[in-house]
Subunit: 214 residues, 4 copies
């Protein structure tokens, strides 16, 4: 089907076009996965001629990587605003849990994108130097929190920050990313307001129940 020509030709704005394409691609990849995403639909969503996508992004895979990098930038950027180093350790853990939970809720596309990338065995991510560098600060920050907590006699010793980070992420990720199958399987609404409060509280209990020693 010939692309319906826009009433007015798109004003020539390179940045804007690229952003629109990335936004559209994010939605499409999240909704259908890499294999199910359609370049046609991305163009349509973006209000851009299909050919323009290839002008800016070499091909579907490159576009996917660009989307993925931008998504990681997003979450890591916000994470840095948490100031975990400046609050007491227990509060820091609470913040990290809440943040992760809320971020996943606010950005379900991020979960979806990760799913896709894992299905493809991180094929795209492995090509990205950018992403790797984003993560060490996070681990260091968390390590610092754990150490402070231990020194203050609050937390147990010997907790690996990477393990803990993965656990915290996993507790939210599995619940939210798999909520469609889970709510079908358990025949229970997992996303209602009450359910959300309960889950967040369960996760805090679980992690702090483990960490805190009295």
């Amino acid at each position: 089907m010939p692309q319906t020509p826009a009433a007015e030709p798109r004003p020539r704005d390179a940045d804007r076009s690229q952003r629109d394409i990335l936004d559209a691609a994010l939605g499409e990849f999240a909704a259908h996965g890499l294999g199910g995403a359609r370049m046609d639909r991305i163009a349509e969503r973006a209000g851009v001629n299909k050919r323009l996508i290839y002008y800016y992004f070499e091909n579907k895979d490159s576009l996917f990587l660009a989307v993925l990098e931008r998504a990681y930038e997003g979450i890591r950027g916000e994470e840095q605003g948490l100031n975990l180093t400046q609050v007491d350790p227990i509060e820091a853990i609470r913040r990290l849990i809440s943040f992760t939970w809320n971020y996943y809720i606010a950005h379900p596309e991020f979960l979806s994108l990760l799913n896709s990338e894992n299905l493809h065995r991180a094929r795209h991510l492995k090509q990205s130097a950018k992403v790797r560098s984003m993560h060490s600060p996070l681990v260091q920050t968390l390590a610092g929190v754990l150490e402070r907590g231990h020194k203050a006699g609050l937390f147990r010793a010997g907790v690996d920050p990477v393990q803990l980070y993965i656990s915290i992420a996993g507790l939210s990720y599995f619940y939210l990313g798999n909520c469609h199958t889970l709510s079908t399987i358990f025949d229970r609404d997992l996303l209602g307001a009450k359910a959300q409060v309960e889950r967040l509280s369960h996760m805090n209990d679980l992690v702090l129940g483990y960490l805190v020693r009295d």
Copy 2:
């Protein structure tokens, strides 16, 4: 690619053919997702004429559902062999954690399948009466364990078995299902023998650290 004719004609065995198709489809769907899976490749993997797939399974989606149902049957079936009701509560929790972990490691396709189904918002699963009925026994068993633990003065009160089950699954699921991106991001081997032991021990510590009250 023209299908290379089998040296010998396939013996006529309806059950065997269906099983072979399901096996092949499981592998293909796990490797490429629903959208990326190719019916051609499934036929080839199964050593079956492509047409036969449509003879037994209406179309790609029905086939996917059949695969999914069989996968759930698999894990739920093994879970029932755990005899959680017959061991002491702490041991029961340990068993469940280990089992989940080991099952995911032994059946990475299962994780992949879940990912795909969630990407599609449980579209297939929702049509399956079968699956729902598989899960209530599991929740009841876990509820029993928690209650026994509490009555014995071991476990804290008020733990929701569904929340706990989701947490236990999520701790393994996220680690294993996202190990490709995670190991890239954290630049660390997550699947070596030592790493596996560490993760399992971390998960046990986490869950039991939370549950057990002294």
Copy 3:
């Protein structure tokens, strides 16, 4: 899809099976045309294993011819019951018009079958000695009616019975066979009771208005 096995196996009755197949095929060919007809559906409609169709009728084309021959037998058989030679000429013409009209209404599949056969340039019919032999009596009968009418001073001279027969058939055929397009085009119901009476009366007026000389 494997054919759902009948609860009880079909009793072995060769004649009955063949008749069922022909009935089913008539419906299917009429509904979808030769190209659109499906052997699967014919088997299903007939309540017969698909393989049995090939046992009795060599292939789709042979089956179509068999259906066609039986359809011609049907109309020619009934036509002979009209006794056109035994009533006065005007009544004979009326009878022929009414009969044609009513037969087409009662057997819309017959029209559809003719359409299909013409689309295929009478490919099947040309192979059938049977059908050819059925038609000469009809022309002779009509020729007799016209001659009697002329001798009685009622009808005009020089009317070609074949032309007239084709005209009479055509007046009903086009109206009924094309009623779907015609009623769409003219935005008018052509099959209501009143419309049917009007058409029949129009056709009688037309043909007799032409034939009868006063």
Copy 4:
């Protein structure tokens, strides 16, 4: 059969491409019916990449409708050139009969297309707003002719223009559209020069013999 690449690349002309596709499709649909038509062959006939058909026409059915609409435009357009309002009523009827006859002879595909559309119960036509509007002028013109004829004391009263139009069309349509089966059945050449003259004369006699009152 791999498409033989055109020696020269096709010049980029959207209108021309669409026209070529429609021409090719008309031939193919007429020759094989909707069900028997092959998109591959249409592409080949049109000298166009198969994909281009889908670029301009959504799918086979849409293409069929487009062809059908163009066919109706063709005949209705020429009909308007007959100037039936400007000649005496008898001549007008003669012109309409001759035109219909000659148009069907010159455009056998038109008959075939109608057949197909009726087999499908005007499924496509019913979606077309366009077609309905083409036909009211025709009916009005014919009504005018009949009225003029009656007022001049030439024609009988009370003739329904739609009935008459259908009859005129039917007399040619059945003869020409079914000539393959008819000539097989009656064992008589229906398309030779002499036969054509005879049929045209028969139709004029029939219709005017009915209409004209002396």
